[in-house]
């Protein structure tokens, strides 16, 4: 690593990308806020937010987004942690299994919804298997508009399936930073596998868990295509409402208001996680 302070080269190399990001993030960001507070003729108003709040779908979208968040995020972090510890035990062939577990990473939320749709439709594979096994005598309508539990379950399965791989990568990278001796010493002193995990691994994994939680929570606020694929409009979520207000209702200001809400929630989530789990040290690593 060279120390050439005062040289312009690094700044010249960084300028194009940073200017690009500034233009593509800061300008639309300001625009989104302005748009959400704008009247027809460009004046200031709270009307867009008032209409957003008054919309029948808003409270449902709010509830569903958080419901999915509080089910999916802990579930997939627990699952990813279990898989990460399994892979990290370095059993023979663990590399191949690890590769298989990361494949869902390649799948978009829309495609994940459609993949699992093959299982959950009325004549889908889940009903087929259950019927062949004699568990049910006629197809269950998992994705019917009045089967709220069925809709939520299908979305939770599809979204956990897709995004566990991402959390797994974060946690595996974190586990690899922990020296092997930590595990061996713990074993020497007779710590059982469960206690070893709890006392040795979890505190050391805190920075990784923190970044995994932050990334996943922010992405959870943006979830919508997997919901559209499985539930259509029967289960409103915040990002889906932003899309619908823009594409279907042609009202970009209310869509922008939803965008501002999602952005605000993401920032709140980061602050909360840093407060709850973080030290400045973890912040620097995460």
């Amino acid at each position: 690593m060279h120390t050439r302070t005062g040289q312009l080269l690094p700044f010249t190399l960084l300028l194009p990308s940073m200017a690009f990001l500034a233009v593509l993030i800061l300008i639309p960001l300001a625009q989104a806020v302005l748009l959400s507070f704008a009247t027809d003729d460009g004046g200031f108003t709270l009307e867009n937010f008032r209409r957003m709040l008054a919309d029948v779908n808003f409270s449902e979208a709010w509830r569903n987004t958080f419901l999915l968040l509080v089910i999916i995020v802990p579930l997939q972090v627990a699952l990813a942690l279990a898989i990460a510890l399994l892979v990290n035990s370095r059993f023979r062939g663990h590399r191949w299994f690890f590769l298989i577990y990361t494949i869902p990473l390649a799948v978009s939320d829309l495609a994940a919804g459609l993949l699992w749709l093959t299982a959950f439709t009325e004549r889908g594979y889940l009903n087929s298997v259950l019927q062949n096994a004699g568990v049910i005598s006629q197809p269950v309508l998992w994705l019917s508009f009045d089967n709220f539990a069925g809709l939520v379950t299908a979305i939770v399965i599809a979204e956990s399936w897709r995004t566990t791989a991402m959390v797994l990568l974060v946690l595996i990278a974190g586990l690899e930073l922990i020296p092997r001796e930590f595990f061996e010493t713990a074993e020497l002193f007779g710590a059982g596998r469960f206690r070893r995990t709890l006392h040795v691994v979890l505190p050391l994994l805190r920075p990784s868990l923190q970044s995994a939680l932050i990334i996943r929570t922010i992405f959870a606020f943006q979830t919508f295509a997997v919901v559209f694929a499985l539930a259509g409009r029967n289960l409103p979520v915040l990002a889906g409402e932003a899309y619908s207000w823009y594409a279907t209702n042609q009202d970009e200001r209310i869509a922008a208001a939803y965008g501002v809400v999602i952005l605000a929630l993401s920032i709140v989530a980061i602050v909360v996680y840093l407060r709850l789990l973080g030290t400045r040290e973890a912040e620097a690593q995460g």
Binding site: L9, L13, Y101, A106, L117, T118, E176, I218, Y243, G259
Partner: protein, 268 residues
């Protein structure tokens, strides 16, 4: 001894169950895509199809706009790759090779952008692109996808340059190669696989992105935007085969760049 056998059974048992969990949707979409369209209405279906057919794939290729949308997706993804590398690779090199005032700030910008819900900016961006005459254009979508891919390109390429010894490049420079020559002849060749991995990752990000692509286009749809727009109208068989086509290249690409995945999501 019995404890060890029990241990191994437990380890391999759970490893296999998890592998089945990870793979089963791919199997289901593959048999949905490779059986005749009538398979959709069969009930109860067999988990192992009795015949294989390309009829569903033909249906997909003949249905309106899908081929065009796929081509659009490819063009947008390639534009994203080019823009992402042109903008991201120099930045990655600078962050990996130099210590300078403000380096921490630049690194923070990269990390924040990685997590920033950029898709949400699609709504105001639509208004901006309308004014610029770029609304409903492939370049407009590619520009937004580039912003989403850029932090990942910088992380992957930066990881590669950090791992390469600087001494060689320095020596080449001292021996009269010149700064650019040293970079081109010494630093660039071993970094090529990393650049390729970053390109592939940028491609996958663009190929998979649906929110911004849907907001920023009306007629010039990418494949995910087209599929999303026709979700409520298209028959099940068509949805399944579309998902099959969306997933297939993404899987191949992820397998190709598996070595680099950790750089992307690892702690930093």
């Amino acid at each position: 001894m019995t404890a060890r056998i029990f241990d191994r059974t437990l380890i391999y048992g759970s490893a296999v169950v998890l592998a089945i969990w990870a793979l089963i949707p791919f199997y289901l979409i593959a048999i949905s895509a490779l059986t005749p369209p009538s398979n959709v209405s069969d009930y109860p279906k067999a988990l192992i199809p009795s015949s294989v057919s390309l009829a569903t794939i033909e249906l997909f290729l003949e249905s309106g706009g899908v081929v065009a949308a796929t081509l659009n997706s490819i063009v947008v993804a390639l534009l994203t790759v080019v823009l992402g590398l042109v903008l991201g690779a120099p930045a990655a090199y600078a962050l990996a090779r130099f210590r300078f005032r403000g380096r921490g700030v630049f690194r923070a910008v990269v990390l924040v952008t990685k997590m920033f819900p950029i898709a949400i900016l699609a709504i105001p961006l639509a208004a901006i692109l309308v004014r610029l005459g770029l609304y409903d254009s492939l370049i407009g979508v590619a520009v937004v996808h580039t912003a989403m891919a850029l932090p990942f390109v910088i992380l992957i390429v930066g990881g590669v340059f950090v791992a390469l010894p600087y001494d060689l490049e320095d020596a080449a420079e001292t021996l009269g190669c010149g700064r650019l020559g040293a970079f081109r002849r010494v630093a660039l060749p071993p970094a090529m696989p990393g650049l390729a991995a970053a390109a592939i990752f940028a491609f996958v990000i663009s190929w998979n992105e649906v929110f911004a692509a849907s907001i920023l286009t009306v007629r010039t749809r990418t494949l995910p935007a087209q599929v999303l727009a026709s979700l409520s109208t298209s028959p099940l068989a068509l949805k399944f085969i579309a998902a099959f086509f969306m997933v297939l290249p993404a899987i191949v690409f992820i397998l190709l760049i598996r070595r680099y995945l950790r750089t992307v999501w690892g702690p930093r």
